[in-house]
């Protein structure tokens, strides 16, 4: 499901920008480079373009139009930091979709090792009571995992305490109510 045509997550990941160098002139495309004054995009211009665009025109394609460079988080400098201590990196700032984007662009496998190091952090974030502080440095997918882990933990402890699961309001109904109440309060 992750890479399917209709996956919103995949769309957001391929919307991340990667640094590229253009190999040919592109007439009428000057507006893509905010610093360029001309109408045409000149060959040799370096520019951050969304991955979906770069993917279709990079050097392995039929019409090579640009060469793709690695985003800085996958480069040597950051690789060393990630190897040394991955937990110090604030993924929220540096790579919201670190793992997913890595699957597209990074050749060296730093994702597995990074995740191995960050796993403890993820575990502690999911049981921590200070949810804002501990979740802050996590990437989008890590946050999703942490939330799922916390929900499971709550469900388990609820079940252990009572041994009983009460019937509850359906998820969407409850959320809809909450939103409506918030909107009413704003008026």
């Amino acid at each position: 499901m992750n890479n399917s045509y209709l996956s919103i997550l995949d769309i957001l990941v391929t919307n991340e920008r990667v640094p590229c160098r253009f190999l040919h002139d592109l007439p009428k495309m000057g507006f893509m480079d905010p610093s360029a004054a001309e109408d045409d995009l000149k060959a040799g211009a370096t520019l951050d373009v969304p991955l979906w665009l770069a993917e279709n025109f990079n050097s392995s394609c039929r019409i090579p139009l640009l060469t793709v460079d690695l985003p800085k988080i996958y480069k040597d400098a950051y690789r060393e930091i990630l190897n040394a201590d991955a937990c110090t990196v604030d993924m929220q700032k540096l790579g919201q979709h670190f793992y997913e984007l890595g699957c597209y662009v990074a050749k060296h496998d730093i994702k597995g090792e990074t995740f191995r190091q960050r796993f403890r952090m993820l575990m502690s974030a999911s049981v921590s009571s200070d949810s804002i502080g501990s979740i802050q440095p996590l990437s989008a997918s890590e946050r999703k995992r942490a939330a799922a882990a916390a929900a499971t933990e709550r469900a388990l402890s609820g079940w252990l305490q009572r041994g009983d699961c009460p019937l509850t309001t359906a998820n969407m109904v409850a959320n809809h109510r909450k939103r409506k109440r918030a909107e009413m309060e704003m008026l």
Binding site: L26, L53, D164, C165, L167, N175
Partner: protein, 195 residues
């Protein structure tokens, strides 16, 4: 840059994965406009008499943007469709007016059709074991007891039970009811189970 509007649209949808938002007519119109203008520019350049090679690349770039826009719009509609399916299972076959107005006309039509399909499927179930249909939206959790105590969360009006008794559901009133009769109301948030 291309496709920025449509990404805003998707981010909006992604921000509230648990609820459905107002169908964003205005943004979709803007995206379609962008697609139209991309198409027109491409048509112009493709028909241009001087066929230099670099213009061809421009056309390719625009075409990729067009396809990308299409993909994003479809993903938006698809994610809404999945949410509408959930609406049928959680709110029941009749949507409250404030939920109804979040859907576009076409989406509401789809909802009605889905609802009818689901209902006729559920009616067709169980005929071999002597039931005339099974309501699949009931008993999503295994029932623990035949009767449960419930607290009424909203003024709902009269409710006729299977044995013919009529009770009035007033806010903050407590009732002791057969589980099978109040499950749906609990899921709709009108009743709450007291332990």
């Amino acid at each position: 840059m291309f496709c920025e509007k449509v990404i805003e649209l998707l981010k909006e949808a992604e921000r509230n994965p648990e609820t459905i938002d107002q169908y964003n007519d205005e943004k979709i119109r803007q995206v379609l406009e962008e697609m139209h203008s991309l198409y027109k520019m491409n048509l112009n350049d493709a028909n241009a008499s001087s066929d230099n090679r670099s213009l061809c690349a421009t056309v390719q770039v625009r075409h990729t943007a067009l396809e990308r826009n299409k993909r994003c719009l479809l993903a938006y509609l698809y994610s809404r469709m999945n949410k509408i399916k959930t609406l049928r299972w959680e709110f029941g076959s009749v949507l409250p007016p404030d939920v109804r107005e979040l859907l576009s006309d076409d989406e509401y039509q789809w909802f009605s059709k889905y609802s009818t399909n689901l209902a006729s499927y559920m009616r067709s179930l169980g005929s071999d074991i002597g039931y005339s249909g099974i309501d699949l939206t009931e008993n999503l959790k295994p029932p623990k007891s035949l009767y449960i105590e419930v607290l009424c969360m909203a003024d709902h009006g009269k409710l006729e039970l299977e044995d013919g008794d009529i009770i009035t559901l007033k806010k903050n009133s407590r009732h002791f009811l057969p589980t099978s009769e109040c499950q749906t109301l609990i899921r709709q948030g009108i009743l709450k189970q007291i332990l």
